[in-house]
Symmetry: C2
């Protein structure tokens, strides 16, 4: 199992946004959609062992589960449409119980700390950060939960929430790259068993 | 300098497509747009040393140059809009002379073989393929030109065109991943100097 938690800072928490303006009117929802695409998709298939949580403004979280997702496609617009559909049903989520507006897509009315607590029931948190241990030298947990921020840095509060629960901090290099590219690199590292064997 | 050449098989060569349907009515232009995004963008910036050629149906090529691109954003829709604008001006391209509809975006009325010949004036072709040498064991050229296919495999004719000009074939792992993820992995490998130093 591989989990990703992406923190969205400049994103909608209600469904009143246009699919034609994901990088503008919808804040930067495009960034999060690319993260879902990188986390879930392989060539002509989906990574069934992956879940990805989009934490929206620390109040609502949309979760995509590779194992049960249906008719999902890797383009930004399709993924954004699922996010919008999830936000339409957010009021049906109660406490730790999510609503499930479409197969493999869940919506929680929970923020970062609560979602991290849910995630750590089945894994260990790895903070992806430039100043962490190079991934090639790190001992990654068996069931990693990678926590990343969108185009903005973690806030102090987020850092605290993650730091309190993280087992390790890992870097994929000194070049600052986008979150979705970091996900692709982390997958590749795990796919190739730490680059030692193909 | 890093170059990428992406072969698009199911894509428009004329501008009559909707930005609202990139993964449907526009063939699979969404795949190529994600490749441009992966090739050119780092966090809050652009990779100035990168060019990426989108070879459309072996007849028209749209080139993006990191060094001179302006007001380009990493979302699929913005990139597709530039491709469409380029296709509107394709008739102005003559022989090896492209039209340049916007800064850093060029359109050629040339297919794969001609574009590979242009690319090899400033680099050496590396075929990215699952059965190639693992990237960690490969000696990549100083100025690599990575050639990838979209969601469809290389045709025999494309294989010949690439094989005739390629110096090496390299693999990024046995998991079949999308072309844009392969680009992210190749960049990361080069960014971290072969994973040996951060």
């Amino acid at each position: 199992m591989r989990q990703f938690v992406i923190i969205g800072h400049e994103v909608p928490t209600t469904p009143e946004f246009s699919l034609d303006d994901l990088a503008g009117g919808a804040g930067r929802l495009d960034v999060l959609c690319r993260c879902v695409s990188s986390a879930l998709f392989v060539s002509h298939g989906i990574r069934e062992e992956v879940t990805i949580d989009l934490v929206l403004d620390d109040t609502v979280t949309v979760r995509f589960e590779g194992a049960t997702a249906r008719n999902l496609h890797p383009d930004e617009r399709t993924i954004a449409a699922r996010v919008r559909q999830a936000l339409e049903q957010r009021e049906e989520a109660i406490g730790h119980l999510p609503a499930e507006p479409s197969p493999g897509v869940k919506v929680y009315r929970l923020g970062l700390a609560d979602m991290l607590d849910i995630a750590t029931e089945s894994g260990q948190i790895v903070r992806l950060h430039q100043e962490g241990t190079p991934i090639v030298d790190a001992n990654l947990p068996e069931q990693p939960i990678f926590v990343l921020s969108d185009h903005q840095p973690f806030t102090e509060e987020e850092q605290r929430a993650i730091g309190d629960r993280a087992s390790t901090a890992v870097s994929v290099g000194s070049t600052e790259i986008h979150a979705n590219h970091t996900i692709a690199v982390a997958h590749n590292y795990l796919d190739t068993e730490g680059y030692t064997r193909y």
